[in-house]
């Protein structure tokens, strides 16, 4: 795995690393990918994907306001330290 590829992945994952750390992660990733590649040997023709944690089917929740959640908004706001009125403040997106 070369640096261009690692840079691309780090960009997608929004992580900044030093070049030394990049070298290390490239090496680790190569080893891990080598290991997981053995799955290619398994014949999965016609096998459905298992997407959830169980073999059960998905169900939908009814679209109702949950009373339990109503009182929590103040507290949730507290976990974002830069606030202005009822808004969470972030740095500018455009220069």
């Amino acid at each position: 795995m070369d640096f261009t590829e690692i840079d691309h992945l780090l960009k997608l994952a929004r992580i900044e690393l030093s070049s030394q750390e990049k070298e290390r992660i490239a090496l680790d990733l190569e080893n891990i990918l080598d290991y997981v590649k053995q799955l290619q040997k398994v014949n999965t023709d016609g096998v459905e994907s298992m997407t959830g944690g169980t073999l059960l089917e998905n169900i939908c929740d009814s679209d109702k306001i949950d009373k339990q959640k109503e009182n929590i908004s103040e507290k949730l706001k507290e976990s974002a330290p830069y606030l202005k009125d009822d808004y969470i403040k972030i740095p500018p997106i455009f220069e």
């Binding site: 992945l9 929004r14 891990i32 459905e48 997106i93």
Partner: protein, 467 residues
């Protein structure tokens, strides 16, 4: 143990205040060495104990867990208490609400002692990936307690807590329980609500108890299980009290793939002796095969990082207390996440990003999901032949601190016998069954999907047979 303490409280042989103070004293004496706790909630605990004492004094009835001290892994939210998940990125994060498991334990009057150490975001098998410090194995302080729920396992093993909660995504309750010589139960996927658990891999994560006996695990599990409107994957498990249960009617399967090369000889021998004892009580033992076993770990190391990379996207520096203020959004994201996540977390996020990215998705992620289906189907099939499976929990004894930390792949192999249960969603329990060179040896008993209460029942019988 829980029942004994409960009786002592009811009979007024001990007050809740004495009990709780006693546990904090043990923590004072031992935790400077073991390092199982990240934070303590002493003041609240003693206040709660006082209230329970008043209740007992008035002659009021108390619940089985009322006044019983416990600790939780630091990836579960307790309102008003720090929840770091072992990560620097959450170093100052204070939880805004109670996880459902905490809410249920609070309702029963159990008393929280504190939060336990873990590998960062539950990624690891030794607690060496904690951003704060490494927990030691109470059986041998030079060795790891296992992980990622290493703090929870060490706290129970060193009797600093009656029970603890851990989370298990690929073995994170069972492997440390095995390494420290305590009981650790991973319920069926969905049997316990994940609301308020900091997510690693949502289709694999589950909360469960670590205890000194199977009976204790059952008491705690009964309290925390059940359908929760806040977690749509949770459900009610029908409580099966199989009082007619007899070991003579039970068929145990030994999957041959779990007893092959790589398994330590002493562990193999001890488990063989236990199986002999079980057989002598009249149980049927049958060798079975789960042919895709060797694919479970590579399958896990695609699905888990994929889900983790998505789940950890929420740590963006905007919520959950950022590390510092940056002039633009780009820097805020890249620097917060670059500095805030440790090496193993970064590795898994980047790996997950890779297997989900365009061009690789089909070859990795989709393939892994298909293999996952095959593994789950194999479990379904084998449970038509046998009632439960017996395997080792770990191929090795607890390793030395520092031994594997620089070699991710060899660390991953610690979970080789535990991941399959998460992949298939079935319940599995770690039961200590012997020791060698002062280190614990443990076995794993796996049951069919949703058989949690029967599994606990059969494990109690085996626990009795061993002792």
């Amino acid at each position: 143990m829980i029942k004994e303490i409960h009786q002592k409280l009811v009979n007024r042989e001990i007050t809740a205040t004495e009990l709780i103070s006693g546990y904090f004293q043990t923590i004072d004496e031992k935790d400077s060495q073991v390092k199982a706790f990240l934070s303590l909630t002493k003041e609240e605990a003693l206040q709660q104990a006082k209230k329970i004492d008043e209740k007992i004094k008035k002659g009021e009835e108390i619940n089985i867990l009322e006044g019983i001290p416990y600790a939780v892994k630091d990836n579960m939210l307790v309102n008003g208490v720090k929840a770091t998940a072992g990560s620097k990125i959450l170093e100052n994060y204070i939880a805004s609400f109670d996880a459902t498991v905490i809410k249920k334990l609070k309702e029963q009057g159990a008393i929280l002692l504190g939060k336990t150490n873990m590998d960062e975001f539950a990624m690891g098998s030794s607690t060496e990936n904690s951003a704060f410090f490494t927990t030691k194995n109470p059986c041998d302080l030079e060795r790891v307690p296992g992980g990622s729920s290493g703090g929870s396992a060490a706290a129970v093993a060193s009797k600093m807590s009656v029970f603890t909660l851990g989370s298990d995504t690929g073995g994170s309750i069972r492997q440390p329980a095995g390494f420290c010589g305590v009981v650790g139960f991973k319920p069926s996927y969905g049997a316990v609500s994940r609301y308020g658990l900091i997510a690693m891999a949502s289709s694999l994560d589950i909360i469960g108890p670590l205890t000194q006996s199977v009976e204790d695990a059952e008491i705690v599990f009964k309290t925390i299980c059940g359908k929760d409107p806040m977690d749509s994957t949770s459900y009610n498990l029908e409580e099966i009290h199989n009082t007619q249960y007899r070991i003579q009617n039970t068929v145990f399967g030994l999957p041959k793939e779990y007893f092959q090369e790589g398994l330590d000889g002493k562990i193999k021998k001890t488990i063989a002796e236990v199986i002999k004892k079980i057989k002598s009580k009249g149980a049927t033992i049958k060798e079975v095969s789960l042919p895709s076993t060797s694919y479970a770990l590579p399958c896990y190391y695609i699905i888990m990082p994929a889900e983790a990379s998505s789940n950890l996207a929420r740590f963006d520096g905007i919520r959950y207390s950022p590390i510092s203020n940056y002039p633009n959004l780009h820097d805020l994201y890249f620097k917060t996440r670059g500095k805030g996540f440790g090496a193993e977390v970064r590795r898994r996020i980047v790996l997950g990003t890779y297997v989900l990215s365009s061009g690789y998705y089909e070859a990795y992620y989709k393939k892994a999901q298909q293999v996952r289906k095959l593994i789950a189907q194999e479990f379904d099939k084998v449970f038509q032949e046998v009632d439960f499976l017996i395997t080792p929990t770990s191929p090795t004894f607890p390793f030395k601190i520092g031994e594997k930390v620089d070699d991710p792949l060899s660390m991953y192999l610690s979970d080789i016998f535990t991941v399959s249960a998460n992949i298939a969603g079935v319940p599995a329990i770690n039961l200590p069954c012997g020791q060698a060179d002062n280190l614990p040896i443990s076995m794993q008993i796996i049951g069919p999907y949703l058989s949690d209460f029967s599994l606990l029942n059969v494990t109690k019988t085996i626990e009795n047979i061993i002792s």
